[in-house]
């Protein structure tokens, strides 16, 4: 007798997707729980807007629900789901550029989650105002980068991904990625020079 597959948290992402395509709802729930926070963080950094990021991530999981059967094991599941989120975020950015979306991107609402405004010093672990100001400056510098540079920086520095995975997610060559990272680094260094030279971050 063929029943629904038994799903555990110890399963790999690929096994979970496979289980979901065979009808396991638990596998889908585990995948959502595992990827919702990283994807929200990623989309929020790209879009600069928390509500927009939530929409994009929900759309990503809806796509996963509808298209899980199209997933092939040629790439890691994380790469696949980040690619979907990245494409949706880019579409949203394009819509905003043409004024088709009701939302506006901006650094002010970047970190407005449920009670998580970084610029509020009391919300920080150490509660130091200087740290909050620094965080605000870093966010502004990040948001001032061109969209394509920002994607690369977020995936490489914040999500700690490998070059190969980033190339797959963004659909670009290794040389292009390194060039974008190099130029983005130069721009960030220029914008964050005082912070870079202070000893506080050591």
């Amino acid at each position: 007798m063929i029943g629904r597959p038994t799903v555990t948290d110890a399963m790999t992402d690929e096994e979970l997707v496979s289980a979901f395509t065979r009808g396991s709802k638990e596998a889908y729930t585990i995948l959502v729980g595992k990827y919702k926070d990283p994807l929200v963080n990623f989309a929020c950094r790209i879009l600069g807007d928390y509500d927009g990021a939530l929409d994009v991530v929900q759309d990503t999981f809806v796509r996963l629900h509808e298209k899980a059967h199209t997933y092939r094991h040629v790439a890691k599941f994380s790469t696949w789901i980040y690619t979907i989120a990245s494409n949706l975020a880019r579409t949203e950015l394009r819509r905003r550029k043409w004024g088709l979306s009701g939302r506006k991107s901006g650094s002010a609402s970047t970190t407005q989650g449920p009670g998580r405004d970084v610029s509020d010093p009391d919300e920080l672990p150490d509660g130091r105002a200087g740290r909050a100001i620094a965080a605000g400056k870093i966010e502004k510098a990040l948001n001032d980068l061109p969209d394509s540079f920002r994607e690369a920086v977020v995936l490489f520095y914040i999500e700690d991904m490998r070059y190969e995975d980033i190339c797959r997610i963004l659909g670009i060559r290794m040389g292009t990625l390194k060039s974008r990272l190099s130029r983005a680094r130069a721009m960030l260094e220029e914008a964050l020079r005082p912070l870079m030279e202070s000893d506080e971050i050591d």
Partner: protein, 201 residues
Amino acid sequence: MKSTDDREGRLRKLLSALRRIQAPADFEEQLARRLARGRARATILPAWLRPYTVPGLALLLVGAMSYVIYLAQFRAVDGDRSPSGDTMTIPPVRSGPEKALPDELPPSIPAHPETQRRTGTASRPGARADDEMMNAPVDIRPRPSTVPPAQPGKGDVRPAEKMKLGKSEPDRSLMMEQTVVDTALAPPDSLRDSTRIPNPD
């Protein structure tokens, strides 16, 4: 001066110091609601068909309008009239007793030249001759010269005279054509009079 690795490390440290943004607590509930909405929409129209909805409906509307106009213009006038039927079909020539032709056709559709000739309802003077010229078969074979070589004492023999001299029955239609051509080529009387050289006497 700090090395590239050092700068890279500092930048990484700065960026990783940014707080990680998290999804709200009711994210799963929102997602479940969204999936339910999506399923409800999918039961009405499959997702792959949705992008074609508006163009498809527009095409259907245009098609329906065209059909209504076609019916109003051509079908409602008289049972089986269509534009293609009247312009493209040539009625066959009947050898038996002729059937009565329709008395009157709508003015917008000209009757066939054969019908016009029979009923004498040519649209303008000279239309019948034009129609005959247009409908006459064109023989492109090289013709032998009808004019015999000039013989001393006999002079030229015109086709009409040649026919008269021949034993066979003269073709009346050819004679008529010749008359028509002669009349057409002859200068009008007024011109003949004006070109006459007055007698000085």
